[in-house]
Amino acid sequence: MTANAIGVTGLPSTNVPARLASLTELTRIGSSRTGSDGFSPELLAETETLLRRSGERMRRSASHTVVALAGGTGSGKSSLFNALAGASFSPAGVMRPTTKHSHACVWGMEGAAPLLDWLSVQRRHRYARASALDEGETSLTGLLLLDLPDHDSVVTGSVAMVDRLVKLVDMLVWVLDPLKYADAAVHRRYLVPLAGHAAVTMVVLNQADTLSPDQAADCEADLRRLLDAEGLTETPVLVTSALTGAGLDELRLSLASAVAARRAATDRITADIDALVDRYAVYSGDPVPGWQPPEPAAVKLSAPPAAGAAVAAGAGSGPASSPLASRPPWEQADGGGNLGNGVAKDPEGALAAPGPAWQDGTGNGQAAVSAEWQPWQPTAAPVAEVSPAITSRPPWEDATLDGRSAGAPVVDPVTYVPAGPAGTLTTAFAKAAGVTAVTQTLNGVRERSAAGYIGWPPARLAGRLRGQPSARKAAAADPGDAAQAQRSDIDNAITAFADEVGASLPEPWSRTVREAARSRADEAQAVLGAAVADGLPPRGKVTGWWRLVAVAQWLLMALSLAGLIWIVVILAAHGGHKSSSLISDVSLAPWLGVMVAALLLLGWLIATWCQNMVVLAADREREQAVHAVMTRIAAATSDLVLVPTGRELAEYERFRTELTSARRGPPIAV
């Protein structure tokens, strides 16, 4: 379905709706990050105003082009207005200032009334040309000519009125005269700030009749030079005289071509967006250092949060919403509308459609159109009765906390955090929790408690005599949990991390990233402590073979003891009655001595060998414990710091994406 289907022709394809949606997203991101170094509240307010204004303009007649004659007092705006209108509508005179109200003249009245109401032109100052009947004026059909009050007189109210209307109209014709064409009042206040609006600006040097042709050319050249110096190179300069009518045809021709093109309204908004978006650039900078955008995820990310609202609206009007989930909201809304009553598929067609498209439409049609405006027009009136749930809340509130729409697939925010600093942070957290120390002591604990079983009894006895505590007892007394991590280490680690990740980001972001990184720092102490405690094996663990070795050691000890006793008995019984050869045979004693020595040696060897085994086992266990603890700490780090930071970085990346698309607009699908 094309724009022709609803009778709108000759519309240039623009990406204004997409850019406005991006702008909405920029304000959403910005409004939660204000502050002394954050997004300027004025900028956000201006953006809100622009969004509301463009919504309002687009909902009104697209077949009209609002052209305003603006200029200083006495430049002949009213005379020019009257000359163009062909009747004396606006009073001209010698007393300054002359015009205190804005006057409007419309060629082709139908559909213009809401526009005039919106511009708040009083009813008695509205004039209409029955264009179709006027000879030679059909080309101007659709022109809404405004005569503004002057902006430089001492009458204060008119300046405010001019300022307001200058922001609303589609096209501006600045009427200057030879005496005041270089006035600061018009250049400083309007022409220079609106330099980006060159495409919808025209400059007329009126009252050419007061100059000789040479002087007029000189004057025009000087004005041209001035405008070029101000960056208004594309703005045409016309020399006219309302008195003699010179140059009026040319002016009429220019107006006619602007009216015929019917793109002044969108051009105006485009220029407005251009001017605003550039001011967002200071909040954007290089991408997050060391981070590569994941290709498939980027598409999902660019879906504005208002998708949720649009999906809801689509669901209300038709079942086709779910397959459209990956499309921008206005397209979804259109999709819904297509099923309903056939609103044009491309957004430009819909926004340019004259009133009846939705005023006479069914409920579905209303839902579709209003949902289309939803992203930048939260107060859209027609929606109220259809789906109040949508209109009562601004679109960004429909989004989930992390800025993504409820239905969109969630990308792990941790992927936004560059790996290098994340690794450093994990290491630093491990240090704060004392992982190295804890696992090293684990080694010691194992060795000592093993020594209670496998140790060489004589050595243990000697140790006890020297005052060392019993190994088993000491192991039992060990409470065995390093309850919490060191707070200052955690703080320093997070600070260093935030500096590394966020320092290269522009102003509000480096702060918000730091805040996000710190958001859960208070819990970190306990969580990291718990991670260590969970990862450690139980301290009092006793391996089975230790007991066997202990039995063997004691057995050997007992045998040695028995051998010694035997020797003593032999020596004692020597020379006594020979009751038994076993206790009287002196020659046996050396052999027994050798045996005892061998047993002791065996015990010592066993102890030493087992100690080595224990050390090996403990080393292995320690490695496992380090691994287990580090895994838990990495998880905790990710939970405590990387996720919040990643979310903020994701917002930053999203801001950059949206800024890019607000600047140029996403490519238009053909």
Binding site: T436, T441, Q468, D489
Partner: protein
């Protein structure tokens, strides 16, 4: 009004000195306005008041100001009778001011006592497009004696410099001749300057030019009504009709009244004095409110400086308080310290040994000894690094608080930005220097450390870690000596603790002195609780009273060192304030006094 010129000059010079000395260091709301106000005050004193007081016989200077295209240059040319000022259709036409006067008077203006800051050139021949910002002196017989007419650039064109020029000339002249045209008498800038003249109470004449003959009455009536409504009581009002120019000049009947008026002002002594007095007392009257306003601003600056400084001090006070509680409540006895402590307790490394106490330190044989440092040494290292990172973290936080606090006010933000830029510049200069002459020997190390400080004020100085490590090391040595001395006292029980063990125990006991109620310890009598065990062991050695003394002295010494470190950090911010410029507390009072003495001599 008789005024002693010398006294007035002295008072003016005094006021000038005070105004020039006004410290405008910080960006407070309105400080930009005050800066321009100061320039204005100074230029009014230099350009107008002082020359006028010193040379009361100088010709009356008439400034011709007005809208672009009103025909100022044409009027000057007509009055003088020759083309001294360029005319044309291009706007703005006049780029450099032209001063027309009688050849006998030209020397008054050729000297530098009138508008001393403005370069001037004598005009020879006809008007040429002059260079911007150059005062052209045009001597012509056509001008009446005793009066000089200054054709100024416009007040309302796009060229901003022209407006400033116009206002500067107005401030320097004795009589204002304001000129506007029929098509723009209702413009904003016209009334801005007329109101300025009213507020200044300057002598003023008004010319309405290019009035179409047909609408003369209603236009003049309307303009007069507007003048009256705005309270502009200029009694001298002239009208020039829209007439064709003859050879670029107005017809004589159009400009003659103005010429006569000028000549009359110059010739009649009473009128001349009246004009001069009115304008000068008008200026002096404005001083009555402008100087006190500036003094009030200076006071605001002093207050702001105090607030910024206080902000920094409070942050570091808080950091110090945090340090003194943090080294007491056991907050540092976590993580690695706790693990190492438990290791030591299990290993019995910190317990008394039977045998010579000197022997135990090195007697630790076994696998641990072969693998690395002994357990007590590891505990010691853990304690040291815990205290270090604690200090760094509180200093970081304090710096961040100050940074945040300062950024909250525009003045603070500017200060920080300036300081950062300054440091970056210094670093660049140093790099250039080193590239040219090679690294400057031993001076390079502190220089590099300083350059690194350029990074940010929201962090503590980069070398703080190093300095903290040094301070803690020194403190531990001190602690060891303290313990040794105490241990050698006769009252102490010789229980076989090693020196190392004792000082570690004292350190742990100090850190955990005010710890919250310890967790339920194991019922075991030998419970290794980190909060209670060191105290128990130490009490057994020193006795409770001596121990309390040792702990108090150790802590006091540690806190002294921490205070020193934090003070060094604070100095960075104080330096930024001081480098912004001197901010004399008495400047405001001096201003009030100077203004008062000026009023007294008038």
């Amino acid at each position: 009004m008789r005024v002693d010129a010398r006294l007035l000059e002295a008072a003016l010079l005094n006021l000038r000195k005070r105004i020039a000395a006004v410290p405008l260091v910080f960006e407070v709301t309105g400080s930009a306005e005050v800066k321009t106000e100061r320039t204005k005050l100074l230029s009014q004193i230099d350009d107008y008041l002082l020359p006028r007081v010193r040379r009361s016989a100088a010709p009356v200077l008439v400034a011709l100001v007005g809208s672009t295209g009103a025909g100022k240059s044409t009027l000057v040319n007509s009055i003088v009778g020759s083309h001294v000022s360029a005319t044309g259709v291009r706007r703005p036409t006049t780029n450099s001011p032209v001063l027309a006067c009688h050849p006998e008077d030209v020397d008054w203006f050729a000297e530098n006592n009138f508008l001393p800051t403005l370069p001037r050139v004598r005009q020879e021949g006809l008007a040429r497009p002059g260079r911007d910002g150059l005062l052209v002196l045009a001597a012509s017989e056509g001008m009446p004696r005793g009066i000089a007419l200054l054709d100024t650039p416009d007040i309302d064109s796009v060229v901003q410099a022209h407006h400033e020029f116009a206002y500067q000339f107005l401030d320097a002249s004795d009589l204002w001749l304001f000129m506007t045209s029929a098509s723009r008498y209702a413009d904003g800038p016209v009334w801005e300057i007329l109101q300025h003249a009213r507020d200044r109470k300057a002598s003023l004449g008004v010319v309405l030019s290019r009035v179409p003959q047909a609408y003369r009455t209603e236009l003049v009536e309307h303009f007069t009504a507007m003048l009256d409504a705005n309270g502009i009581g200029a009694e001298d009002r002239f009208v020039i009709l829209e007439t064709p120019l003859v050879d670029g000049m107005l017809p004589p009947d159009a400009y003659q009244p103005i010429r006569d008026w000028l000549a009359d002002t110059a010739a009649r002594a009473d009128r001349r004095v009246a004009v001069l007095t009115q304008t000068m007392s008008g200026v002096l009257d404005t001083f009555k409110s402008r100087v006190p306003a500036m003094a009030a601003h200076v006071e605001a600056q002093v207050v702001l400086r105090g607030r910024l400084r206080r902000g920094a001090e409070v942050a570091y006070e808080r950091a110090f308080a945090e340090a003194s509680t943090g080294t007491k409540n056991g907050a540092l006895l976590h993580g690695e310290v706790l693990a190492r402590w438990q290791d030591c307790m299990v290993g019995g490394d910190l317990r008394p040994r039977r045998g010579a106490r000197a022997a135990t330190a090195g007697s630790k044989k076994g696998k641990r000894a072969r693998r690395g440092p002994s357990r007590p040494a590891e505990l010691n290292g853990a304690l040291r690094s815990a205290i270090e990172s604690f200090i760094v973290s509180i200093a970081d936080r304090a710096a961040e608080h100050v940074d945040e606090n300062w950024r909250g006010s525009p003045a603070g933000a500017v200060l920080l930005a300036d300081a950062a830029a300054e440091q970056a510049r210094g670093e660049r200069a140093k790099q250039v220097f080193e590239a040219a002459f090679g690294p400057s020997g031993n001076g390079s190390t502190p220089g590099a450390a300083e350059a690194n400080q350029a990074t940010a004020f929201s962090r503590s100085a980069p070398d703080l870690q190093l300095r903290a490590a040094r301070a803690i090391g020194a403190w531990q040595e001190h602690l060891a000596r303290l313990v040794e001395v105490e241990y050698l006292r006769p009252a102490t029980k010789r229980t076989g603790f090693s020196d190392e063990a004792l000082s570690i125990l004292v350190l742990v006991a100090m850190l955990g002195e005010n710890a919250p109620a310890p967790q339920p310890e194991p019922a075991d009598a030998e419970g290794a609780g980190i909060y209670t065990e060191p105290r128990r062991l130490l009490t057994s050695v020193f006795g409770a009273v001596t121990l309390a003394g040792i702990l108090a002295r150790a802590r006091a010494d540690l806190l002294d060192r921490v205070r020193l470190l934090l003070d060094e950090e604070l100095v960075r911010f104080v330096k930024v304030i001081d480098e912004a410029g001197p901010c004399d507390d008495a400047a405001a009072v001096r201003l009030y006094q100077a203004e008062f003495s000026l009023e007294a001599v008038r």
